[in-house]
């Protein structure tokens, strides 16, 4: 409560971080908050990952193996919710916190105290979500998409806590996004015009806009659920004139932009890394920006492709099929630009580049299976099978998560001042790469053969590929412990990093020393 008093003596000397635990509770520093976000998301990644291990252990063999079906449902629900809202989104927000102010030449985020609030809501929200495991009737068990009436009429009592947890997560995301947008719009160094901004900044500007547009819609959806469950309304109850399908429309109006929220920052990251390690200027900067903007706009008019089998009018099925396929155009532009950037470049294969190349290849595979799913009549076959599971894990794991890992390897010398262990980094990459493909590639086949998702048991014909998939998952899961070790080792010490870190790296963040000083750009640099 003493911000004014403190401010009198803070002007003329540079502060390092405060001491002790309260540094992290009270901090207004974008680097501190970025680190908090990143560590939090990594903890959630391990918790959600442990749940995935339970799922894969249960599916190791046909028949009921180690958990009850009820608990299996809770595991797959929490796995999805935690990975989406607890791991991937906070990791990208953490990267935005660390990088956006440095990349645009700002002293900090535009609204530093609100920035702290955005973060500290999250541990509370996920404490509530995880504590529902110990509540009467168990944790939410209706899948991360929480379709009504599974999530209303047939939900466990903990759904009320789930609803409110989603509410405050939404508040956190909205405040975080407002901060990012305001920082980008208002805090750029003189001379940094919009079309000179680094692509990661562009990708986050567009992502933040998507977040502010759709998180309130999610809040509306869960509020309607709350009212239906406890206060007698009939939004999702056809007996009263509502419609369960209405829930799906509202949810996916949020949900589809949400999946782009989880991939657009990855596009920005890949662009930076591929540019650096190809030792060429990125091919097609402007078209990259326009492609991201087009993808974001299209994301608002494709939501019902998740609902082809619920009984939509034919006109809707056709519209959403074509609109969805249209997204392949800007996405194709991006993949083309990345490949063209690498073309005739002097490429070296450091760990970030390995992850970035794997990102381009494997994300494209996920994109192609998305195109298959976009075809309405074909989707009637694929819907709710493991093909869908394979599709979205290909875009999320070797897509979003590989890009996050690439970003950590790429920028960690700037954050810590130390180089990571290249040999271990490469080992981590190859273990993850093999693990992820062994896990998810066979799921395409068992899905096409008809194995339904979200069921703890399956027909004998799927046994072999499920076992292989589980082995891959255990490998992938275990190799993330190595990642933790590498990060800790880098934080503790290692070869000192130069300010530039990578040969020919471009961008303002590489002009400051490594580790970046606690306060960067208290007076803005000139950008020409």
């Amino acid at each position: 409560m003493s911000a004014v008093i403190e401010s009198h003596n803070h002007d003329d000397h540079h502060h390092g971080p405060a001491k002790g635990l309260t540094r992290w509770l009270y901090t207004t520093n974008h680097k501190d908050i970025g680190s908090l976000y990143l560590w939090f998301s990594f903890a959630m990644f391990l918790i959600g990952g442990a749940m995935a291990m339970v799922i894969r252990a249960e599916l190791f063999q046909p028949g009921m193996q180690i958990v009850e079906p009820e608990f299996y449902n809770q595991m797959l629900t929490l796995h999805g919710l935690i990975m989406v809202f607890g791991a991937v989104m906070p990791a990208f927000v953490g990267l935005a916190n660390w990088l956006v102010p440095m990349m645009v030449g700002a002293p900090d985020m535009a609204l530093p105290r609100m920035n702290n609030l955005s973060f500290w809501i999250l541990p509370f929200a996920f404490f509530i979500l995880l504590s529902s495991l110990f509540m009467e009737g168990g944790a939410p068990n209706f899948g991360w998409t929480f379709y009504a009436p599974l999530s209303t009429t047939y939900a466990p009592p903990s759904v009320t806590f789930f609803i409110f947890a989603v509410h405050i997560m939404g508040a956190s995301s909205i405040m975080g996004s407002i901060n990012v947008i305001v920082t980008i719009m208002n805090m750029r160094a003189p001379g940094m015009t919009l079309m000179k901004m680094p692509l990661f900044v562009w990708s986050w500007l567009i992502t933040a806009y998507l977040l502010i547009a759709v998180m309130p819609v999610l809040a509306g959806a869960v509020t309607m659920m709350l009212m239906d469950i406890h206060f007698g309304t009939s939004f999702f109850n056809a007996a009263g004139g509502g419609d369960p399908v209405l829930f799906q429309h509202i949810f996916w109006f949020f949900g589809h932009p949400e999946v782009y929220i989880m991939i657009l920052p990855a596009f920005g990251i890949a662009s930076h890394i591929i540019e650096t390690f190809s030792r060429k200027q990125l091919f097609g900067y402007a078209s990259m920006v326009w492609a991201m903007a087009s993808i974001a706009i299209l994301s608002f008019v494709v939501w019902a492709h998740h609902m082809f089998t619920v009984g939509l009018p034919l006109a809707a099925e056709l519209f959403f099929m074509w609109a969805t396929m249209l997204i392949a155009v800007p996405t194709g532009v991006k993949v083309f630009n990345w490949v063209t950037t690498m073309f005739k470049g002097s490429i070296t294969y450091e760990t970030p580049m390995l992850f970035a190349i794997a990102f381009v290849v494997l994300f494209t595979i996920g994109g192609f299976s998305g195109l298959m799913l976009a075809i309405t009549p074909a989707d009637f076959q694929y819907h709710d099978t493991y093909f869908v599971v394979a599709h979205f894990h290909y875009v999320l794991v070797p897509g979003s998560i590989f890009s996050i890992m690439a970003a950590v390897y790429y920028w960690i010398p700037k954050w810590t001042g130390n180089m990571y262990d290249e040999r271990l980094g490469k080992l981590h990459f190859w273990l993850s790469f093999i693990g992820v493909n062994v896990t998810f590639f066979p799921q395409h086949w068992i899905g096409l053969a008809g194995m339904p998702r979200r069921i703890p048991d399956y027909a004998l014909q799927f046994a072999d590929w499920n076992m292989i998939s589980s082995v891959g998952a255990f490998l992938f899961g275990a190799s993330q412990i190595l990642f933790l070790f590498i990060v800790l080792k880098t934080v503790m010490g290692g070869k000192k990093a130069t300010p530039e870190v990578w040969e020919g790296s471009r961008g303002l963040e590489w002009t400051v020393e490594s580790p970046a000083p606690y306060h960067t750009f208290t007076t803005p640099p000139k950008v020409t």
Binding site: M1, A3, V4, E6, S7, H10, D11, T22, R23, L25, Y26, T28, D108, A110, L111, P112, R113, M114, N116, L117, W120, F124, T160, F164, H167, I168, S177, I178, I181, V182, M185, M187, P190, A213, M215, P216, V217, G220, T223, M224, L226, M227, H230, F231, G232, T233, S234, F235, N237, A238, A239, G240, G242, D243, I250, F253, G311, P313, T522, T523
Partner: protein, 301 residues
């Protein structure tokens, strides 16, 4: 261009208090709602304590920001951050209402006609044969077996009864308040603080009148119309849309009242320096626009 330092506060305890308050608020709210009808539940005290911490912290947080501003710590650039921030916050509110208006659009144009047998998915009529679609839905598809049907609805009563119809008065009151808050803004820009206080006072009064009328309308609905949250999709959309709007009117009215007291008791604001008031007035205009949409799509059409 000379550069003014961007003020970044060193450390702040406010955010962690607010985060804790939100935790208590939602734990208390969820516990209270889950324990409805259980007299020995004490979740409601968690809710109250959360609310208390929230309110107190918010008071001190805003006080600190105002003091920083008066001390001249915020540059023009920082003030621009507040302007952008408020704008995007209002955009998020727009999207929140969009979800409910979208639901209204969907039930009126798709789900209710389909349940009544019209349109491409009219097959749905086989669920409750004999249900006839109309808007407002006075008899639910299940003919009220799971719901308490309303006797009357809130729709447009025809020109003859327009002046006896509360929503019409609500509209007049709220639209006028948007004008009076604008007059207050003009008075402030002309450095006429007395006129500013008067017009802002009138606006706050109109906000109170609106909330009073809305309360009367809800009382009528529950006591005499039989229209409740539990009377099917019409009651659901009616109360959720007007209810959330009413809640926003209370928030906006409270913001304006705070601005009024800042002006009256502390002599804050001058012709070029009043974003606190301006933000509240933006919010007020936003609430007004939502009402116009409500008036059209919930009441008249």
């Amino acid at each position: 261009m000379s550069y003014q330092k961007y003020y970044v506060p060193e450390e702040s305890k406010f955010p962690i208090y607010i985060a804790t308050a939100l935790f208590l608020l939602v734990m208390g709210a969820a516990g209270t709602i889950n324990d409805l009808g259980k007299p020995d539940s004490n979740s409601v005290y968690i809710l109250y304590s959360g609310f208390a911490v929230f309110a107190v912290t918010l008071y001190f947080w805003f006080r600190a920001v105002i003091r920083e501003h008066i001390a001249g710590l915020d540059s023009a650039q920082l003030q621009k951050s507040f302007v952008f921030g408020m704008g995007w916050f209002i955009f998020s509110e727009v999207m929140f209402f969009a979800a409910f208006f979208g639901a209204l659009f969907y039930v009126r144009n798709f789900s209710v006609p389909w349940l009544g047998g019209d349109g491409e998915k009219g097959l749905a009529n086989m669920l409750w044969e004999g249900f006839e679609a109309s808007w407002p839905v006075m008899s639910t598809p299940d003919a009220g077996s799971a719901f308490v049907l309303a006797d009357k609805n809130m729709s447009w009563p025809g020109w003859g009864n327009a002046l006896k119809w509360l929503p019409m008065w609500n509209t007049i009151v709220l639209l006028s308040s948007s004008v009076t808050v604008h007059f207050a803004h003009l008075a402030l820009k002309n450095d006429n603080k007395k006129s500013f206080n008067t017009w802002l006072g009138i606006t706050v009064t109109l906000a109170l009148i609106f909330v009073g009328l809305q309360a009367a309308e809800y009382y009528e609905a529950y006591a005499h119309y039989g229209l409740t949250l539990n009377s099917g999709i019409y009651g659901s959309t009616f109360f959720m849309l007007t209810g959330f709007h009413g809640f926003h009117v209370m928030m906006g009215g409270f913001m304006l009242a705070v601005m009024l007291s800042r002006s009256v008791f502390y002599n804050h604001f001058d012709p070029h320096n009043h974003f606190g008031f301006e933000a509240a007035s933006w919010y007020w205009h936003f609430v007004d626009v939502v009402w116009v949409m409500l008036f059209l799509f919930v009441y008249i059409l």
